[in-house]
């Protein structure tokens, strides 16, 4: 039957063709019918869609914008010299804290006699003694050290104090009984203690004493004890104290007295006072206590030395301080110096009347803590502060020439190639107990909120990063996020919506309930929680971006699923689907050839519009600080960075307006293209 039918058709067709040929022969050059194939241009469906699309002016504008955005975001960074995380610096005038001045409150001790031996406990508490002294209005205070040493602090004048100590003269040093050696009887070897001189006679005496099992023996008038430590090992101890007299021999009575008063530190002998001091090596020093001597000169005054290279010793300083309230003149190393009071400060001149140092109340340092300021600067600063104190001002100014720097960060040189100096106005202002010296200087700065310039076309942001570069990279992320999220949404939505619509039944019910649940989920709180969680675990920005996309995709598929289900539900019951079934076409082909193309327009429009809204959502999240994090740039974060106040928004309009325009343009472009595609896909649209 089959073949017969086909043959018949073929025959029929041949007959028709023959007829047609005959007709053609009959009427050569017959009139061309209106619906002649030749006159009707036939386009393939794809080209038809394209043709329709390209007829839509708005769609073309949208497409052009999108192409621009893609080039801008994906190709742009390849040619743009800066990356999104480059931080830019510049040299610029900045009022910097140049130096600080503070009144020295603590006195500093200058040793007069460098050999003076004063315990650190006393040294460290000198200032507190001085403070209490000043508080009580006393002119002198005495203190006692743990070892019984007597000290006293005397006020010599304002801000100058002196520390006096007992003058000690050592009279004797007593070394008590001490182990001199260990003897091993078995190996017959001595191990001598350090500091003992090896004496062969002594050696023999020990050996003979040990062999006779004596517990003591005498040698050269010194008695020794032998103690058996363990088998064959003997400890030989010198039993008679060894005494070194510094001066005259005061006799054994003196020694026994000293030994007796070891722990009391002090004893009297023949009407004189002696101090006993147990040294580290258990020897005992006995010193005679003489009169008091000045050990330290203490002062709050600050030395400002003219020539720093000249190393001025503590001794010199101490002498200079003493001279203030003494003779105003002192000699040091054979030279005579004079100290003169000038206002609130003192100046030290040498013999040729040149100032070598001055004494003031203030410590003036660079803010970094280094003491690199010149004598002149310190003098001027000090002078200004004194004037301020007199006039009771809180701020003042003085001029001082500082090295000049140009805006490229180089020192300006004069004709001779030396560093040029310019008079710089230095402002001194009082802050708490300190004086801060500020001045405008060329400083190496992060170029934050740089105005648009030839180097940075859109300026720089608050982190000193190039805005144009960040716009490009931000566009990349925004577009990638848009595409991936929409892709995820569409994939999940089409699969679930398709199953739901095509198969119906319990699968439909289940999936639609899931969709309902997803519609109920308040996405913003979830995203806020997510953002907080990611912040808490300090996720890296790239990982965070990936999770953000997944979560946005999962939150957004429900709409697509519902759309697809609705479409499929209505299409499934259309007669053409039944007709296709009747022709025996496979189910998969029915779905992909007949159902899908009918869903595609809605899907594409939905996806394209979705792209726009996802970009907006991503920007919103980033703006709220929940989305993509620094240092990754997105358009949202860029706007966020200047949106802290309306003042900032006005001030930094050159940052957020271009970025906002980009978002706007992209979303509008996606909508235009989406509309254009919908119209193009719809064959029922009037051309």
């Amino acid at each position: 039957m089959n073949n017969k039918n086909l043959n018949e058709i073929l025959k029929h067709r041949e007959a028709l063709e023959q007829k047609a040929k005959e007709e053609q022969n009959n009427s050569t050059n017959g009139p061309i019918a209106l619906d002649d194939t030749q006159r009707v241009k036939v386009l393939s469906p794809g080209r038809l869609v394209a043709k329709r699309f390209f007829k839509n002016k708005l769609a073309i504008i949208g497409l052009a914008i999108l192409v621009f955005m893609f080039l801008f975001s994906f190709i742009g960074p390849l040619f743009y010299p800066y990356s999104q995380t480059d931080i830019f610096y510049k040299y610029d005038y900045l009022t910097i804290d140049y130096a600080s001045a503070a009144e020295r409150t603590d006195a500093i001790a200058y040793a007069l006699n460098s050999s003076a031996d004063i315990s650190s406990k006393i040294k460290n508490s000198l200032n507190s003694y001085i403070n209490s002294m000043e508080k009580d209005g006393k002119a002198e205070v005495s203190l006692t050290d743990d070892d019984g040493s007597q000290y006293s602090i005397q006020k010599l004048g304002e801000k100058v104090y002196a520390l006096f100590a007992d003058q000690l003269t050592e009279v004797a040093k007593i070394s008590p009984s001490v182990s001199i050696a260990k003897y091993n009887k078995f190996s017959k070897q001595f191990s001598w203690s350090s500091g003992t001189t090896v004496d062969e006679g002594l050696q023999k005496a020990i050996e003979s004493a040990i062999s006779s099992k004596a517990s003591d023996f005498e040698y050269n008038g010194v008695s020794y004890l032998i103690k058996s430590e363990s088998k064959n090992i003997y400890n030989i101890i010198r039993n008679t104290p060894e005494i070194e007299w510094s001066g005259e021999n005061l006799g054994n009575e003196f020694i026994s007295l000293a030994m007796k008063h070891q722990d009391e530190t002090k004893f009297a002998f023949n009407g004189a006072d002696y101090r006993v001091k147990v040294n580290g090596d258990s020897s005992i020093s006995v010193s005679a206590i003489g009169g008091k001597t000045m050990v330290y000169v203490l002062s709050n005054l600050v030395f400002n030395i003219y020539d720093k290279a000249e190393n001025i010793s503590d001794d010199f300083k101490a002498n200079a301080l003493l001279a203030i309230y003494n003779s105003e003149k002192f000699s040091y190393n054979g030279k005579t110096y004079s100290v003169l009071k000038k206002g609130r400060k003192y100046e030290i001149y040498d013999e040729s009347n040149t100032e070598i140092a001055s004494l003031g109340n203030f410590v003036i340092k660079r803010y970094s803590g280094q003491d690199t300021l010149s004598f002149d600067f310190k003098e001027k600063a000090q002078q200004t502060i004194y004037e301020m104190l007199e006039k009771n001002q809180t701020s003042s100014k003085f001029l001082y020439s500082l090295p000049q720097m140009d805006l490229q960060g180089n020192y300006v040189l004069d004709k001779d190639g030396n560093t040029a100096y310019t008079d710089t106005e230095i402002t001194v202002s009082k802050k708490n107990n300190q004086y801060v010296l500020t001045c405008e200087q060329v400083t190496y700065l992060i170029d934050i909120f740089g105005k648009p310039s030839s180097k940075h076309i859109f300026g720089t942001d608050g982190d000193g990063m190039d805005i144009l570069a960040r716009m490009m990279y931000g566009g990349r992320i925004s577009l990638i996020v848009g595409f991936i999220v929409v892709f995820l949404e569409v994939i999940i939505g089409v699969i679930l919506g398709g199953i739901s619509g095509y198969f119906g039944g319990w699968a439909d019910t289940l999936i639609m309930r899931i969709v309902d649940i997803f519609y109920c989920i308040p996405s913003l709180p979830i995203l806020i929680i997510m953002g907080a969680f990611f912040d808490a675990i300090k996720m890296n920005p790239y990982e965070r971006l990936a999770w953000l996309m997944v979560i946005l995709g999962i939150l957004g598929w429900a709409g697509v699923a519902r759309l697809v289900r609705g479409q499929i539900l209505s299409l499934r019951e259309q007669e053409f689907m039944i007709a296709q079934e009747a022709t025996g076409i496979k189910a998969s082909r029915r779905i992909f050839r007949h159902l899908m193309p009918n869903i595609m327009p809605q899907l594409i429009v939905n996806a394209t519009m979705g792209l726009g809204s996802v970009i907006i959502l991503e920007s919103t999240l980033s703006f709220l600080g929940l989305g993509v994090k620094h240092p990754l740039a997105t358009w949202g974060t860029m706007i966020n960075s200047v949106a802290s106040s309306s003042e900032n928004m006005i001030k930094y309009a050159y940052i957020w307006i271009p970025v906002g325009l980009l978002i706007c343009l992209t979303v509008i472009a996606f909508n235009f293209v989406g509309d254009g595609l919908r119209d193009a896909f719809d064959p029922k649209m009037k051309q």
Partner: protein, 358 residues
């Protein structure tokens, strides 16, 4: 033996399609638990045969189950019970693969040419898709074949690349017919193929169908409610009412001598194109009962002019009243059938009394 065989073969050859006691119920599900709470008896015990190369029509009111019969025959819907034999082969016993193989042989043309064409696919593809899928012609001849089919259905070759929406209703119906024809079928169910078209186009389509039948020896099951079209095209006609076949006969016989009161009423509605003729129309009272809850006894008795007592109790038997003329009506009962019906009625009455007493 031989004689018998040949007779059977003849029978087989003679009847392309045999429908035996076909029943199709649509379950009514409760909305919440999805339990079946009743059935819509769309097709209730329908039997008929169609001879090879002939056209059988099914007529009846809207909602009487004509289209359901058509779709169930093609197994686009699963039957509830009964048998559909196509070329002696039970369609419902086929596996999915076998059914797919059979599909091209049995085609359908739908009522609405607007919705029965996939809107996003060019016409050539609509017609040719299944041809390619089933390998009706070798791939080399495919293009020419589609063109030939299109020409045979009165379409131009350049229509191939056009979309359905670019065509008028008549052309679309031609496309539908071409789609069915391209699969080289033996049997086409025409489910009201012309009712959506205007009259002039109707004639074209009817003529096309007739021509194709002539040329290719097609067999049609023509479903319609337009009696004049049916008279024009069909060899035999079955009249359906509320899911059951009430009368079946050859066209001439039926049109000249309708037996069933419903058929009479139906035919009396055919307009006669002569203003002077006084039409003797039988106006049926009431409306079509619900197929979910059909009346007891004869389904038509609620609206029947000549309703008897027996009609409301016993369903009439679908019997051959005259040679080739089947009818289901108590008016034409022979003694045997009458006795059977009366017995049923008596039982039913008893039952009623019992129930009443209780």
């Amino acid at each position: 033996m031989n004689d018998k065989n040949t007779a059977e073969q003849k029978n087989e050859q003679e009847y392309l399609l045999e429908v035996k006691n076909l029943v199709k119920y649509f379950p009514i599900k409760s909305s919440f638990f999805r339990r079946t709470i009743g059935n819509v008896r769309a097709v209730d015990n329908v039997s008929f045969k169609i001879k090879r190369g002939q056209t059988m029509s099914i007529v009846g009111e809207s909602g009487c189950g004509k289209s359901t019969v058509g779709r169930t025959i093609l197994r686009l819907l699963e039957k509830t019970s009964g048998e559909v034999l196509f070329n002696g082969q039970d369609i419902f016993s086929l596996s999915k693969k076998e059914l797919r193989k059979l599909r091209p042989k049995v085609q359908i043309v739908f009522q609405d040419p607007y919705s029965s064409l996939s809107p996003r696919i060019p016409v050539g593809e609509i017609i040719g898709e299944a041809v390619r899928e089933h390998g009706i012609v070798p791939p080399a001849e495919y293009d020419d074949y589609i063109s030939r089919i299109m020409r045979a259905c009165g379409l131009q070759e350049y229509h191939k690349s056009r979309y359905p929406h670019e065509f008028s209703g008549g052309q679309r119906q031609r496309i539908c017919i071409a789609r069915a024809l391209a699969l080289n079928p033996d049997f086409i169910v025409c489910d009201e193929p012309v009712s959506a078209l205007d009259v002039s186009i109707q004639a074209q389509i009817i003529n096309l169908l007739k021509q194709l039948q002539r040329d290719f020896g097609l067999t049609y099951l023509f479903i319609s409610h337009d009696l004049s079209v049916v008279e024009h095209i069909s060899d035999t006609v079955g009249v359906m009412y509320l899911g059951t076949m009430v009368e079946y006969a050859e066209t001439d016989e039926l049109y000249s001598n309708p037996l069933h009161p419903y058929t009479k009423a139906l035919f009396s509605a055919i307009p006669i194109p002569d203003p002077d003729v006084k039409m003797n129309r039988i106006i049926l009272s009431g409306s079509l009962p619900s197929p979910a809850n059909p009346p007891q006894g004869c389904k038509f008795h609620t609206r029947c002019e000549s309703c008897m007592e027996i009609c409301s109790y016993a369903p009439p038997e679908y019997a051959e009243i005259a040679p080739g003329h089947y009818c289901a009506c108590h008016l034409y009962n022979d003694e045997q059938r009458q006795a059977k019906a009366e017995e049923i009625m008596a039982n039913a009455k008893k039952e009623e009394k019992k129930n009443g007493k209780k």
